[in-house]
Symmetry: C2
Subunit: 133 residues, 2 copies
């Protein structure tokens, strides 16, 4: 069980955009080069972030991706959910009613992890960084 590389790309891109906070949008070309990933693939990932409302995109010359207002409140969990989906990481496939005791335990543990990821904002992380990336 692992988070996908797409999540890795998304988190790093968001960290960079948060640290940069440029007026001008940044093209996927430059963003892709920083992570040694193909632009078209990264584009697909960033489109998910756009649809989740975290960033906005503009086409045409000088277009690209830029943080939206409220960017200071974007958490790790927001980004991860946008890429991985919001399904819980355990589904009891056994037939013993709706409340499986095992399911309850695992989901409670997962909730602890999500609580941490929800409390950690990207903007907080940038604030504590000297070197960027």
């Amino acid at each position: 069980m692992k988070y996908s590389k797409a999540t890795d790309y998304a988190l790093h891109t968001m960290l960079f955009l948060t640290a940069a906070t440029p007026q001008k949008p940044m093209g996927v070309q430059q963003l892709a080069e920083r992570q040694s990933v193909s632009p078209t693939y990264l584009s697909k990932i960033l489109t998910k972030l756009v649809k989740a409302g975290m960033i906005e995109s503009t086409t045409g010359v000088n277009g690209g991706y830029r943080l939206k207002r409220d960017w200071e409140n974007i958490s790790f969990l927001d980004i991860i959910h946008a890429i991985e989906g919001t399904a819980s990481l355990f589904d009891c496939s056994f037939e013993h009613g709706p409340d499986c005791p095992i399911q309850k335990v695992v989901l409670a543990a997962e909730e602890k992890m999500e609580e941490q990821l929800r409390n950690q904002k990207m903007s907080d992380l940038v604030r504590n960084l000297n070197i960027v990336n």
Copy 2:
């Protein structure tokens, strides 16, 4: 990102064995029927638990699987690690030194989840159950 069905099978089997605590070992045949899974497949899963030292197996007639001593201290995390492995669920594939701030955040969150799973013993769960499975 999801826990595998194998983990689901392993957790349920361990819960059942813990609740049953039989003198006689229980054959994979019966264990498999309870979960509607093929015996040979479940066998492969249980072999992992054997190698992890949680249960022991005996071949031949009246053979099967049985809990080992110290079974009262087996945690959810022990079982999950035996099946899924112990690798962390996030690896930064970016090139910026050994300490990636993103990695640190995600791993700290994962540690919170593992802490819960480590504290929850199977035997504790059984103690609070009226109906078994």
